[in-house]
Each structure stands twice: as C-alpha cells, then as structure tokens.
Symmetry: C2
C-alpha cells in the first residue's frame, strides 16, 4: 500500500504546486509508481505537467461526486512512472456544492481507494484555503507535507493550519501525521530568509526537511513549458533540491 | 462619496495584501481619508499594519453578520489618515456559514454603507479564492484592482477571475469596473518577468498601471515590523513604487 501525502498550506503562493509537481516527478524518476492528484480549481499542477486540453468531464470533480471512477480519468505524463488526476475550473463550485453531500469529508478517500494499491506514492496538490477540498485531502492522506515560504506572512498562518490538522486528525483520520515542513523560495542573500527559517526550525524542530528549496527562476520558468524541473533543467539548483527531497521522503517511508 | 476598490485575485501569493496595505498607506500619506478592510481570514493586512491583539469579537466577521456596526470596530493605525477594519481567524467559517444568510452577496455592501461617506478611498484585501468573501468585496466595490505576479501560473488564473468579475457585474453590481492590473514582484534581471509582463500588457492594454512593483526584500521585511513600507524604509524601491501607484489611483479618481 502506497503512501498518500497531502501538500497543503492555506497561505497562498508558498510553493504547494511547485513542490507537488516536482517532488512527484522526482519520485517517478526514482522509478516509484507515483500519482499526482490536482485538487485545486486553478489546475496549476495539471498545466505544470503539460496537460492543456481535457476531454469533457474527465477530471477530479466527477470522481469526487462518484460519477466517474478515478481509474478512468488518470492521465499519463512525460515521465513513465508518473500519472496525473487532472483538475478543472468546474471544481470552483465544489467547496460549496459538496457541503450537502453525505460523508462529504470522505469523498476523495473513497474515490482514491480503488487505485491506492497501484501506486507507491500519491501526492495531492491543495488549493490555498482550509475549506472542504483541503479537508478531503487531509482525510484521504497518511501525512501532510507543508511548504513554507521563508517570509514573514507565511509564519502567521501556521497556527490555523495546525488547528485544522488537529481537527481532521481527531474527527476523521487518526493516522494522519506531518510528513515534514519544507522551506521554499529560500534566498541565502537576505536576512529575512535566514530569520524566518530559524524561527520555523525552532517551532517544528526535526519535522523540518533537511532539504531547503532555494529561490530559482528556472523553477518559475518550467511550468511555462509544461515540464517538471528535472525535464526542463536537470542541472539547476531547483532540480537538485527536489531530487534530494525525494530521497528524504523515500528514506522516511522506509522507516515508517 | 469615496471610491471603494477591491484588491482581488484568487491566485495565491501575488501581492494582494502587500498592495492593499501599501497603497492604502500611500493614499493616507497624500492626506486622503482612507479605510483598509481586511476580508481575509489570514488577517495579514491586520498584522501588516501592526495590529496584533483584538478585543473579543471586534472584527469584520461580526459586521458581516450585522452584529456590530463597522463604526465600532474601525481601528486607528500609525498613519493619521488611515483606518483599518480588522479580520480574524473566525472568518474562516464565513465562506460556508454565510451561504444560508438572505442577501448573502450584499452583506459587506450593507455593513460599509454607514461609513462610506467618511472616507475618500476604501480598499478591501481579499482572500485567495473566488468564494463568497471575494464576491461580497466585488459587490461592495466601485472597481477591482488586480495584482498580477510576473510568473507563468499567474497568467493561468486570469480567465477565472474575469469570469467572476463579469458574473458579479451582471448579477449584482453593474457599476463595477476594473481599476487596473498591477504588475508585482517584477524582477528586471529575468526573462520570465519580461515575457509575462509583455503578455499581460497585450491582454489588458491600457488597463495595466504604468507603475510596476519591483521585487524588493524590504517589502517582505516590513510586515515583520507591523509597518507599511513608507514607514519602514521610505527610500526603498518598493516605497517609491507604491507612492507612484497612489498618484495614478488619485489621478484616475479625478477623471472618473
Ligand atoms: N523555489 C522557487 N523559486 C522561484 N520561484 C518559485 C519557487 N517555487 C515556486 N515558485 C514560483 O512562485 C509562484 C508560487 O508558487 P506556487 O504556484 O507553486 O505556489 P502555491 O502555493 O501552489 O500557490 P497557490 O496558493 O496559488 O496554489 C509560482 O509562480 C512558482 O512558479
Ligand atoms: N514586490 C515584492 N517584493 C518582494 N516580496 C514581496 C513583494 N510583494 C509581496 N512580497 C512578499 O511575497 C509574499 C506574498 O505576498 P502577499 O502576502 O502580499 O500576497 P497575497 O496575494 O496577499 O497572498 P494570499 O494569496 O495568501 O493572500 C509575502 O511574503 C510578501 O511579503
Ligand atoms: Mg498551487
Ligand atoms: Mg493576502
């Protein structure tokens, strides 16, 4: 049974999609069967992997409503061991529409259960909110990976995120753990990055990944070509960082 | 009657809060009576202006539910002509709780109507979503200011944002216009910024502000001190840019 990891943080623009796309690509490069689930109506993970046109109704919204089995909407990507469950704008209404549905917190968990055994890692890219979509991701997951930008506002959101994590753990998913806190967009030239990183390490201690993702324009360029960083520029700092992160995640999986 | 401007974009981390805080501070520095409304449960505009502890129930959530008049929760700031309507984490539940309330799209508009005449500019900082809070902001506003990061993923979200803008304009607020599109975190050393900026200008033409906000670490440091950039480092590129933006907004207001 593979490990399901939600990539979540309600603070916007902290590197959730960049981490979900590139970590899943690096796990696939290590020949781990990997599935990336795009649970954000912005569908950035979907375009970040080069998928631009979807067939009508062939995306996650229809699987959440159990209208289409996930096995039918899974797409191949440019990497042999990486598959994608795409998202689309229709998902925008889901946060409100799913409120009335029975067992609304478990919709993703039930949609994923028929395919879980096919993958060693399943990553879920979450939208910037603590609404029903993110709650569904946390209920369906074994652990949550928290990207944290080394900026002041990013620190402020931590306690809300941990409240939601605790609430979901107690009410819906006792097994849920923290996979790790990932420092992103770290700029070694600024004091701001150093100060915020120190504070995050004081707060989360050994839960902070050893790998730190540096600010690197190549990471920002890659989505424009629909490629993860290892296919766009393998020699870049960003690619090396996400390859190291994948090693850490694989090591952690072996230990658990 | 003052001008009400929503600062909105569902893409996360594009500079909504940074623009709302610093534009409102610069308008206040030009001695325009200005009100900043924090409509984001993350309450980043609130802390960005140095407000850390709120009295019990003295924030926007209670005004949306018409339990407390906005006049009672407005707070002074370090700038004489700038006032703040603070936010708090309680607002997280609002997107769902307000669905059942009659006239749910007009809650902010009605809450603001008793104080509109007191201010020349009212800015509303929106959360990274197109849910009921952002819809409330658009219904209450004369115009929307759209911060756009010069990054690839930021381009992708434009059409959803314009769809919501059109929908709100037709259904709830015919007067709603686009105040302008603001290019943020522009890094002149990278092709990525130039390419994305060119594409945004092709798409939005004269709606793009002449002022471009450069990437500047001082803008990221200022919130840690609870100060807008003009009080933290007036000589910085970021401060000069937001002062120029305030001039443009004041000019536009005179013309309309
Ligand atoms: N390490 C990095 N170096 C440089 N740019 C980065 C890095 N990580 C992410 N970016 C860029 O920063 C922007 C924000 O990242 P991303 O979209 O991954 O964040 P997010 O948390 O998924 O945002 P949202 O909250 O909207 O879902 C994107 O344009 C991305 O390309
Ligand atoms: N021009 C700039 N130069 C450098 N850093 C910036 C700039 N503008 C914003 N930032 C920083 O980038 C981060 C994102 O900006 P901000 O929080 O204002 O975006 P937002 O759109 O309000 O995010 P959210 O979607 O979470 O509400 C913050 O840490 C902020 O300090
Ligand atoms: Mg994202
Ligand atoms: Mg914000």
């Amino acid at each position: 049974m593979g490990r399901v990891i939600a990539v979540a943080n309600q603070k916007g623009g902290v590197g959730k999609t960049t981490s979900a796309v590139n970590l899943s690509a690096c796990l696939a490069a290590a020949e781990k069967e990997t599935l990336l689930v795009d649970l954000d109506p912005q569908a950035n993970s979907t375009s970040g992997l080069g998928i631009s046109h979807l067939q009508e109704n062939m995306h996650i919204y229809y699987s959440l409503l159990a209208l289409k089995p996930i096995g039918e909407i899974v797409l191949p990507t440019k990497l042999k061991f990486l598959k994608l469950v795409p998202s689309a704008r229709d998902l925008i209404g889901a946060e409100v529409e799913l409120i009335e549905v029975k067992g609304r917190e478990y919709l993703l968990k039930s949609a994923l259960s028929p395919v879980r055994h096919l993958f060693e890692f399943i990553l879920i890219d979450c939208p910037p909110s603590l609404g029903l979509l993110t709650v569904n991701a946390l209920v369906a997951s074994d652990s949550v990976l928290i990207p944290l930008q080394c900026e002041y506002y990013a620190l402020e959101g931590i306690s809300s995120l941990l409240d939601t994590y605790q609430r979901v753990k107690q009410a819906f998913n006792q097994e849920l753990e923290i996979e790790g806190v990932l420092l992103t967009m770290y700029d070694e030239r600024t004091n701001l990055s150093k100060q915020v990183a120190d504070e995050i390490r004081r707060y989360f201690k050994e839960k902070v990944f050893n790998t730190v993702i540096p600010r690197s324009v190549r990471l920002g360029e890659a989505p424009g070509f629909g490629k993860p960083i290892i296919l766009y520029d393998l020699s870049s700092k960003g690619a090396q960082a996400y390859l190291n992160l994948a090693k850490e995640v694989i090591e952690n999986e072996k230990k658990s």
